[in-house]
Symmetry: C2
């Protein structure tokens, strides 16, 4: 007998719904394809059916604590409308919170997917035992989530936690966000593929070229495979990934002095290839890190700044979404505002 | 009749002690030269004499709420030892908190000078009315202070709030902190002077050269004066200041989505010369800013991101130091920690 919550992770290709106990055990996980379902109405209907089925199945297990839903893209936190979502075409301005609550007849907590991922790692993964945490999620692009003293930091309009769009190289490659030289241009999956294509086009990457010519898909996994086999061009790409992340992590340490920085998402699978360059840059660029780094040869020590990879893989968002309804009200999220709406200049 | 606190701002050249009422009125301010006093013991003795004299003078005014002291440099928040202070030679590892408390026979609150400056602006200056605030202090170098939900953000070891040492240009000029291309290398007083010297040496700044040859001191005020007179070289220097700040502010908006960013310190006196470039960069580089910017032609609007200059000048630290003992315990400061000191990897 244990209380539980239901966590939902809505992605571009799959919808996953899980029952998670308050002590962190995942009891059951359902996975549906969002591609097959096509369109927000069908996806929400399938989501709500799954939630209802799981709720019935586990009702004798303990108290049902609530439902948390992670969705990709920019959510209006006040209205629960999904404003924009590159991974969910057709969901533009869809009132996702309202539709789910209407179908289920109960309140749910809606949250950005990178934030639920961070909350999952904070609860049961790399961030366990820390008060505050900064997470980078290296997916197609780069997302992020910040936990301050146990609660997700939303900022004023829920748009906080976008380290992928901080400037690493002021005159670097243009980014879809309008900026140039964003971290996302050096360290997400799209960036790895772009750098690999550039290296092939410039004739610097004969091994990558051979694999692609042989029909292999050019993706971060392929570049990582060649990097582990010693291919120079592939290693150089992950060196760039690590250096860019290191520049960003160093700046964030100097500004926020947090105890732990976690790198997750698909590209983080290449941790062994890029992480040495994170540490190299951070040691060069952050005097706060140098004052708080673990002793030589150790990766973690009490009171030190810890930089590490995520532990929960693709399930972090499911755990984090389920965690939200378990948190006391004041720990659900920080959001900051102008206290008064009309003040003199 | 009004309750009051005593605020102390200890600087490299002067020590200032003020009585500030809980509604924000400064009743009296004493200023002493720290240069004349020489050495921590004498300065602390003079500080404590001033505090005691003011305390006696105002005891019939209301309840004395406490004493806050702002000091430049890196403080060990647990022990109250001033670890390092470029502006206070001879104070290295001086147990400043212990010495003050011993002399006064009462508790005082010690805080970093950039943090008390931020707290002052938050209480009575540019940040008034906001929940959270990010402040840059453009002095000789660049300091900073972050207020999250009413309390100073210290981070794990009290070293948070160093935006001056975030990387703006990965291969930029070396910084004393060990990094290259820090914001401080483009936007503090030392940076303005360095850029002016470089422009003179390269023959690009005939007007600056003439002023210096005529015996004027080369400082940010001189460069600002020439910039307002239309001197191209001086304007280019403040353009660099504004662009570098804009790159930094854009990144901080995308990561933290705070409602207000305040630029203070001596160099901020040249606000009119550099601020247009902050806004230019932020509009190019922060999609979060663009989603939350005030309407065209307005500088501030409810629910928008506000970027502005400090309002209290050199007194911000005095007000902020006096504010600290007035705050309820949970608002005095955030500090974040590993919750458990021994956890498995």
């Amino acid at each position: 007998m244990s209380d539980f919550a239901i966590g939902v992770d809505l992605g571009g290709t799959s919808l996953r719904v899980a029952v998670v106990e308050d002590k962190g055990t995942l009891l059951e996980k359902l996975t549906l394809s969002t591609k097959v379902l096509r369109g927000p109405e069908r996806v929400v209907a399938a989501m709500c059916d799954s939630i209802a089925a799981l709720q019935t199945r586990y009702k004798s297990n303990g108290k049902m604590m609530g439902i948390g839903v992670g969705v990709p893209g920019i959510i209006d936190l006040h209205t629960g409308v999904l404003r924009e979502s590159p991974n969910l075409p057709g969901w533009h301005d869809y009132p996702v919170l309202q539709e789910i609550e209407h179908r289920l007849g109960t309140r749910v907590i809606l949250e950005n997917d990178a934030n639920v991922g961070a909350m999952g790692e904070y609860w049961l993964g790399a961030g366990r035992g820390y008060d505050s945490m900064f997470m980078y999620t290296l997916g197609t692009g780069i997302g992020g989530g910040i936990v301050f003293e146990g609660a997700i930091w939303h900022g004023m309009t829920g748009m906080a936690g976008e380290p992928g769009h901080t400037t690493i190289e002021p005159k670097g490659p243009p980014c879809a966000c309008g900026n140039r030289g964003c971290l996302e241009q050096f360290a997400g999956a799209t960036a790895v593929i772009r750098m690999a294509k550039e290296a092939i086009a410039e004739g610097h990457a004969p091994k990558l070229k051979r694999e692609v010519d042989n029909g292999q898909e050019l993706n971060p996994q392929l570049v990582y495979k060649l990097a582990t086999q010693g291919d120079k061009a592939s290693r150089a790409i992950y060196r760039t990934v690590g250096e860019a992340l290191g520049i960003s992590v160093a700046s964030m340490i100097n500004v926020l002095n947090l105890p732990i920085f976690v790198i997750g998402g698909g590209v983080a699978g290449a941790w062994e290839a890029f992480s040495p360059y994170i540490f190299e840059e951070v040691r060069k660029r952050s005097f706060v890190y140098n004052a708080t780094a673990p002793p030589e040869g150790e990766r973690i020590a009490p009171g030190c700044t810890h930089i590490t990879h995520a532990l929960l893989g693709a399930d972090s968002g499911l755990y984090g979404a389920a965690r939200l309804p378990m948190l006391p009200e004041e720990r659900k999220a920080h959001s900051t505002n102008a206290r008064s709406s009309s003040r003199a200049l």
